[in-house]
Point group: C2
Chain length 423, copies 2
């Protein structure tokens, strides 16, 4: 008998009907002879409603209390789901993150899982129950306070439980059919990927693909837990994410897995930086001290005449204000002429392990962009990814052009609705 962990996002359990539909699917998995652990997010918009309430009583809600508030959402959905399963004649018990043994650090609102001790889950399973676990939450090791795992936290809960329980697979149910070769809202001919390696999935997630978050894939790779991303609205096979293709599936590793894009970043250019050792370090120390994560960095070739250079980097738009403030504050120590802030940029990334052994991918990528009349502003590469920054308005056309150029287009327009995965 296998052990399966299933995760259902908020859109799958948005109302009583959704909960009953999901309950049936869970019971099917149980009837197929599996032990089943289900991780569930809060219903539909519950979390947003709670955030609204918090904003009404306090402009800056404290982390500890904010986490206590938000975790109420999963309590509701998990209890309802357990009831719905019992109503179908099967035994189910629900568990909070704390009861399920999800132990975290004490960083409220974005805690990290440091241990999973699923003793109560194991007991519930051995007694024949389906175990329902609240996603997105845990309990801090030191203070025993309730914590939340931040965006995408329920996926991480599912993968962490799958690892701790040595599950055969972690199924992530969402409102799309799987991972696609590009965002189907932008590329009508995007194809569902049957299998993708952890590495390629990590690069796609880091490049703007929203189906799975980087952190969850990273966790799955570390413990080698196969993920199956699929729709809770259909019975179709979705996308398998694993180190090797699963079982008897003969899936050839594609040269290019997909094209991701991201328009959530901005670009800051530090103009007129003295071209001497330690200048770049001073700039990025100021940014790091402000707890800001940056993405791409490019330093222009220095103009010999002036001895000055420009340094550009990209970062989430939401951090833009903070970064500008941090740089202005340390302007004296660093020494630069001015700052330029540009939030009208977009990033397009081509991901695929095959590019390591296929020379010419970079050239073909740039040619496709050029043919589409798209200007490249920044370039950054990893072993299995090439990313460029362009004007934001050029992104849709650029993604379509690259998708076509690398032969990723499907033969038919696939009609899919593509949305968020909850959390």
């Amino acid at each position: 008998m296998g052990l399966v962990v299933q995760k259902y996002g908020g859109s799958s359990v948005a109302d009583a009907e959704g909960i009953k539909r999901v309950a049936k699917r869970i019971v099917e998995a149980k009837k197929n002879g599996n032990q089943v652990v289900v991780v569930v997010s809060a219903m539909g918009d519950t979390t947003d409603e709670l955030i609204d309430l918090a904003a009404q009583v306090s402009p800056m809600p404290a982390g500890r209390e904010f986490d206590m508030l938000l975790t109420a959402g999963e309590r509701i959905s998990m209890a309802l789901l357990a009831m719905a399963i019992k109503n179908l004649g099967h035994e189910a018990q629900s568990f909070t993150g704390s009861q399920a043994g999800v132990i975290t650090d004490s960083v409220h609102n974005k805690a990290r899982i440091i241990d999973v001790t699923p003793g109560r889950i194991r007991t519930a399973l051995d007694e024949g129950n389906i175990a329902i676990v609240a996603g997105f939450q845990g309990v801090s090791a030191d203070k025993k306070d309730i914590t939340t795992l931040g965006r995408g936290g329920s996926d991480t809960t599912a993968v962490a439980l799958a690892a701790a329980l040595d599950a055969e697979v972690c199924e992530i149910y969402t409102d799309v059919d799987g991972v696609f070769t590009a965002d189907p809202r932008v590329v009508k001919k995007a194809r569902k990927i049957d299998w993708i390696s952890f590495e390629d999935m990590l690069e796609l997630a880091a490049s703007g693909s929203k189906v799975l978050l980087h952190r969850c894939v990273e966790y799955a790779r570390r413990y080698n837990i196969p993920i199956h991303v699929r729709s809770s609205f259909s019975g179709l096979q979705g996308t398998w994410v694993s180190s090797e293709p699963i079982g008897d599936k003969k899936v050839e590793q594609a040269i290019i897995s997909g094209v991701a894009h991201d328009t959530s970043e901005a670009k800051i250019t530090v103009v007129g930086v003295p071209d001497k050792p330690g200048e770049a370090a001073a700039i990025f120390r100021a940014i790091a001290d402000a707890q800001i994560n940056i993405d791409m960095v490019v330093q222009n070739v220095s103009a010999a005449a002036t001895g000055l250079t420009d340094i550009s980097f990209t970062l989430p738009k939401s951090e833009g204000r903070k970064a500008i403030d941090a740089l202005e504050k340390s302007r004296g120590g660093i020494g630069f002429d001015s700052l330029r802030y540009d939030d009208q940029i977009g990033k397009i990334s081509l991901v695929g392990a095959g590019m390591k052994t296929n020379p010419g991918v970079t050239a073909a990528f740039f040619e496709a962009l050029s043919d589409a009349g798209v200007n490249i502003e920044l370039i950054s590469t990893s072993e299995i990814r090439i990313s460029v920054v362009t004007r934001k308005d050029d992104v849709p056309e650029a993604v379509r052009a690259v998708h076509t150029a690398f032969g990723l287009d499907s033969d038919t327009d696939e009609a899919v609705v593509y949305g968020g995965t909850g959390r």
Copy 2:
């Protein structure tokens, strides 16, 4: 420095404005030099909405999951209240029933508190925090499952914490000004009671007064915790419930504390019962085996000619069906002619320790009812209470007549809004 436990019902924290108003009041208590522990119910209609959701997924939700579901409501209100207090510049921490050390038995939906171990609350207070505790909930001693305490459970939580923390007073904030000499919706001239003994309050609660539940008063009496029932919408003194009048208050014990009424009961008459030993026992054994609590019992004088008698008793209407079924099932063993079910009854009770030493109270009570043209169907008495059953339609007039006859009317019509106390 004193320690005060305050409890706020759902109507006091129905929305963000209510939460902010309550937060201010809590901060006042803290500024007055007290250590403050606050027990809070779920916001407004939250609990009813959760019950509705449960009904949509399952006609008979399991106790364990139902409790998990319902306790989400207090999580939300307590976290928001802590945020609102912190926003006023004071330190606050919220705790679930489990975190606050409210240990219960395992009877889901109506668990009883068996121990309170408020170590975390004590620590939070000693560190200068206001402690916010979820009412209505605890954790079971054996299985560590979340439990709820049933109707009025938040009041019981507050009194139990007050006892465990050796508080000076347990303040129950509600949407009325205190305990009245009668239900002000029925008796316009009802007066607020300044002080009432535990014993009289227990009898009022048992007789239909809804402001405080019997269980909570019983707990307070056992540990001698003074309760102050007051409005969260005004600064007025409310009603003190304690063994003796508090401090320098010179309050004379009234002969009669108040008139309570209850129209939530029904009457079952077992007709034609053989008048021999063991018959009544067999009837009430059948009822007890069905887990039904009964209230008043009357056996008619046996008719000598037939050797048969009638036995009547009252019970909550909600248990009527179950009782009739239980009696019909054991009809063969008991032996009776027929059952009569009557849900058009009402109970009026006169409560006051003074009746022990004031002969004539019973006579005056019956005279008042007679003068109002109200027929008495059943009578039951305790040392400090007389109750009668009448037609339901006669109840309002009967209550007013008795209230006037015993000199309880105030000089002016008090304008009060009288509602439930949440839970």
